[in-house]
Each structure stands twice: as C-alpha cells, then as structure tokens.
C-alpha cells in the first residue's frame, strides 16, 4: 500500500519561514486553540508529517498526544528560533519509559 502525503510545518513566522523554500506547507500560528484545530484539520487532510516548533507544541500538547498512537500523521517537534527547549528529547524518554518501565537512556 502506498499513498502520497504532504508535509506541514507549524510555528512562529521566524522559525518556520525557511521551510517554505523546501516546498513544505508552512503555517504561521502562535495561538494554542488555533494550533489544535489546525493539527486536527491537517491530519484529516492528507498530511503525513507535521513538524511543529517546541513552543507551539507546548500550546497544543493535548491534541499532539492524541495523535501519538495513530499511524499517521507523525508529529515531530523541532527547536524554534529562540533555541532548543529539550521537549523533543523528552518525548523520546517518555517512549522509553513506557516501553521499558523505566528511563534507561542517559
């Protein structure tokens, strides 16, 4: 089975503008409710991968969690222009803790 899907980037304007040049769909959004709605809309409209900046992801944590166990879309946290908050790495540690029972990374 194979299908084509699109890729989106969500975040504040300064952090995500560059991705437009690569041909990704860029959504400049900084409001929590709007981000949540946007993710839901993108997920049901054939977007397979959604990159979202860490500050934007923090505003829509509930919605992102909901899509964690779905096959698609894959929601990936990326650092914003202000710098890395480590939230993306924390997601990794959470997965390990869930699978193994304790966090054995580090």
């Amino acid at each position: 089975m194979s299908e084509l899907c699109k890729t989106a980037v969500i975040g504040d304007s300064a952090s995500v503008s560059g991705f437009a040049a690569l041909g990704l769909s860029v959504f400049r959004e900084t409001d929590g409710d709007k981000i949540s709605r946007l993710i839901t809309r993108l997920a049901s409209n054939g977007f397979g991968v959604i990159y979202i900046t860490e500050p934007a992801a923090a505003l829509a944590a509930e919605t992102i969690k909901k899509y964690r166990s779905r096959r698609l879309p894959a929601i990936v946290l990326i650092p914003a222009i202000e710098g890395n908050t480590g939230e993306g790495m924390r997601g990794l540690h959470e997965a390990v803790e869930k699978a193994v029972g304790s966090d054995i990374l580090n």
Binding site: G18, A21, L22, A99
Partner: protein, 216 residues
C-alpha cells in the same frame, strides 16, 4: 488465587485443560514477541536519539542564519522572497510490518528533478544569510524525514510493547494460575466423589452379603 466458578465435572475439566494449554502456548508466544519488539525498539531508540541531536543541531544552524537574515533584511522582503516556492515535496508512504506493528516509511518525491533547486528568489535583494539558512535546512531535510519515520516507529512500538507486556503479565500471573487452581480443585473433587462411591458400594455389598448369607 481465585478459583473459577465452574461445576466440578469431567467435561469442565477437559475443557479447562485445553484452555490452560492454549494459555501457556499464548504466553510463550507473547513473551517471545515482547522480547523481539524490545530488541528492535532498543536499536531504534539509539538511532532516534542520535538523529534527533543531529537534526536539532542542523536546525539551530539554520536558525542562526535566519536570525541574521531577519536582522539585515526587512521582514516583508524576507517573507516575499519565500512566498512562492519553486520546489514542492510530497512523501510517499509505504508500510513496514515489524512484529505486527505497522510503521510508516516515508520516501520524498520532489516536484523538480534537481533537489537543489530551492532558491525561490533572485539574489539581488536578499541577504546571503538567507541562502545559508535555506541551504542548511535543505541539508538537514532528509534526516528530518527519517526522524519523523523513526519517531513514529518508536511511539507505535512503545505502545505495542506496553500492551504485549500487560498481556504477558495477565496470562502469567492471573489466567494460568487460575486455570491450574481450578483444574486441581476439579480433580480433587472428582477423586473424592470416586472414593465416596467406592465406600458406599463396599458398605452396600457388606449389607447385601449379611442379609443373604448371614455373614458377619
């Protein structure tokens, strides 16, 4: 351990024995599945960690350029330069089955044949730092796709491992001991019945003998 609420009959006994056998078999299979999933998960998680640090480093690099570009160029000019992208990327999604966890695999399809054809603006009015930012992003993009793939795989596998572990534990600590306890109970009850039948038969035999032959 709780004994199951069943009648102590031979029929129940044989059906329980069958259930116990399949529970034990299922337990063994699930345990193997859990171990294999765990092994693959550990490999993936290592790659995931490595990849994430690389991607974060790459994006930080791009952001640094972007911050400089943003400071030397007018915001509107910068936005306009990126308004109409030349390149367009779509991902082809295929599925990979890892121990019955379906994980997506992405392969990028570019609109133009030249994947470096990403600069959607003339160089006259834009800062060189913008070029740097975009080239840095383009360099890291294949890794970003792989990261999306592998992070999703890790999340899905973590879910599956948790589920499988629960099943293994439920079988090992609840279902199998329950079945064993119930089987033991039924066996005891049946042999007790048998003994009681034998004794009453002996008693009856005694009585009959006594009556017919005046035996003592």
């Amino acid at each position: 351990m709780a004994r199951l609420n069943v009648n102590p009959t031979r029929m129940e006994l044989s059906s329980l024995k069958k259930k116990l056998a399949s529970a034990q078999r299922g337990h063994k299979l699930l345990k193997d599945k859990r171990d294999e999933l765990m092994r693959q998960f550990m490999n993936l998680i290592k790659e995931n960690k490595q990849l994430r640090s690389e991607v974060e480093e790459g994006i930080r690099e791009a952001n640094r350029y972007m911050a400089v570009a943003g400071s030397v160029m007018q915001r509107e000019v910068l936005e306009t330069a990126l308004l109409l992208p030349k390149q367009e990327v779509e991902l082809e999604v295929t599925e990979k089955n890892v121990m019955s966890v379906y994980i997506p695999v992405f392969s990028p399809k570019y609109r133009t044949a030249d994947t470096d054809d990403i600069y959607s603006y003339g160089t006259a009015f834009t800062s060189v730092d913008l070029d740097g930012a975009i080239s840095a992003l383009s360099d890291i993009f294949p890794k970003m796709i792989r990261l999306a793939e592998i992070e999703k795989a890790c999340q899905l596998m973590a879910d599956e491992i948790e589920k499988t572990r629960r099943r293994v534990n439920a079988l090992e600590h609840i279902m199998i001991p329950d079945y064993q306890e119930t089987i033991k109970y039924i066996t005891m009850k049946l042999s007790e019945n048998e003994r009681s039948t034998t004794t009453s038969l002996m008693k009856v035999k005694d009585m009959v003998l006594k009556q017919s032959h005046n035996f003592t």
